[in-house]
Symmetry: C2
Subunit: 334 residues, 2 copies
């Protein structure tokens, strides 16, 4: 089994990707990676690194798709890009089981949907990040942006896929599923979420806990939070933005608080570091695109080596834990 | 001019409402209040307070609408409730210009929409809270929950009303308006927001800054953030939830961090207090329902006296600043 990695994805590529890949290879001796990108540029960068060369292949791809390009057009035109060539390898090499990229979200999602096959019964694949919780646990948010416009049926399938992902990645059987809404009462919601509520609550195989508010996102009361891609995106970015803003406000307070505040900060530094560590979920891996016949992990655009390493190991874990097979099995019973 | 106040709204009513009303009367010598609720219960509570009795009237209402009741049914059935009687007074007493309640959001919104008149041209009133920004300023979010299902036209009107509100409350002319979306690019969004984008950007009277991400909510780059009621609600509650969760995580870190962390906390206490003060936007007033012929301020359900006082003074300020007249004028030019 091999993990295909986009060497030219993300703000810090290719240095961060090379470094992250090498670290992943060192961390897991059963990992095999195919690094996709301009080989003439990658080779000298890899020459100074120390890793098991038998477990790293290179696949040449001269083009790079930037964040600024229209995804569908870029995927169609740039056939020699790291994203297109990496995804195509999943179709031609049976050993290539997952693709990891920190590149343009739009291009990775569009490319994956266009080039890979959907799992039978799944209408729309969904993007699912794992968020931290106050209690030190994890919560899966599905969808966080692959589908800005959804039908109730899609959201029912997100619940099913989220449950399978929770089992594979978090080891949670019978995941507690919440539906992101504007209130906790059963009757709350938009027309879309009210219809999704009916479908999900009627599915006896799911452990559906009903509507939940965005306020409870990080509470740890849910293993899986189901949302359409637009709302999931808003929820995720609100969390990110608020966390960043609070750090900013605290920092300003410390700078303006004189010697007393600076001393306080020094003493509390380990605590702040711990909080940052909990809130920075990107370090622990990427968002997984679920619903296709191969695993796709989208690492954050600003990923450093640590995040790339985590995303590669996450991709391998999900192949090992047979996430695709699990979703296929559940869908075959629907 | 009188501000009508629901004495039986909120988790801490009527004590918090009485105390907040008395504080507001003390703070503004031109303020007149009508307190609506069970007079036999309110009179003894007021007897121990010190305030200018000439400026406080009581209006008897024996019933209370709880958060658990279905709003439309409760408004129809409980004609002797503080919400229904308070809102009706705005129709019968020309001096009664605004209604303040910390009661059931659903009942206050439904009651206001059913019992008051809409401003000509406005299809849907919208609920607008004011959020803090990192730079110490304020941002208006409109709508945050009155309309879970919107049409593009509604969102265009939210932008117009938000602009008028920014002028009246924040003193900002030509408010910078952002549209909450899943990306900053013009083409990003759901079908709904993409259509709303067209309408808002075509309106030359608006200073439209395009799509914005939820991550920028508290950045201070926008005076008005336009969203449908479902997305706005999710965004608002994500912010609230993340802020609360971060305080929780920091608190846990301090408790678990031994003497060093506790000492650090003591030194940083003023900074934390400042941060809490910035993030706790509910203390500064309520969310305003805009688009009706009278002002309605919805104070947070957990409002203490300080928030009630702020909401009453805010309501008076918006009457003084002629928010209703401003929206009426702008709409007459559309």
């Amino acid at each position: 089994m091999k993990i295909v990695v986009d060497a030219y994805g993300g703000d810090n590529a290719p240095a961060s990707v090379i470094s992250g890949t090498v670290q992943a290879l060192q961390a897991d001796s059963t990992l095999n990676v195919v690094l996709v990108g301009d080989v003439t540029k990658l080779e000298p960068l890899l020459a100074v690194e120390s890793y098991d060369k038998a477990r790293l292949e290179l696949l040449d791809a001269k083009e790079v798709i930037s964040n600024e390009e229209a995804p569908t057009e870029a995927i169609r035109k740039k056939q020699d890009s790291s994203i297109v060539k990496g995804l195509r390898l999943l179709n031609t090499d049976a050993d290539a089981q997952a693709f990891v990229s920190a590149g343009s979200s739009g291009a990775v999602l569009t490319g994956a949907v266009l080039l890979l096959k959907r799992i039978k019964g799944i209408n729309r694949p969904a993007l699912a990040p794992i968020l931290p919780t106050v209690s030190g646990g994890s919560t899966i948010l599905i969808d966080c942006g692959a589908n800005p416009d959804c039908k109730p049926l899609n959201m029912h399938q997100f619940a099913i896929m989220g449950g399978a992902y929770a089992q594979a990645e978090l080891g949670v059987n019978n995941a507690r599923i919440g539906l992101l809404s504007n209130g906790t009462e059963d009757k709350k919601g938009s027309e879309l979420t009210k219809s999704a509520f009916q479908l999900i609550s009627a599915d006896e195989k799911l452990n559906f806990k009903g509507n939940m508010e965005a306020r409870e996102m990080l509470s740890g009361d849910y293993d899986v939070i189901v949302a359409d891609g637009f709302n999931g995106n808003i929820c995720l970015k609100s969390c990110e933005g608020t966390a960043m803003s609070m750090f900013d406000i605290i920092k300003k307070g410390i700078y303006g608080g004189g010697l007393r505040a600076k001393l306080g900060y020094l003493l509390l530094k380990p605590v702040f570091k711990g909080v940052k560590n909990i809130m920075d979920y990107n370090k622990k891996g990427g968002a997984v695109l679920i619903g296709l016949n191969k695993i796709v992990v989208k690492s954050h655009g600003s990923s450093k080596a640590e995040s790339i390493k985590a995303s590669i190991l996450q991709a391998k874990r999900l192949v090992d834990k047979k996430l695709v097979e699990k979703v296929t099995e559940v869908m075959s019973q629907c």
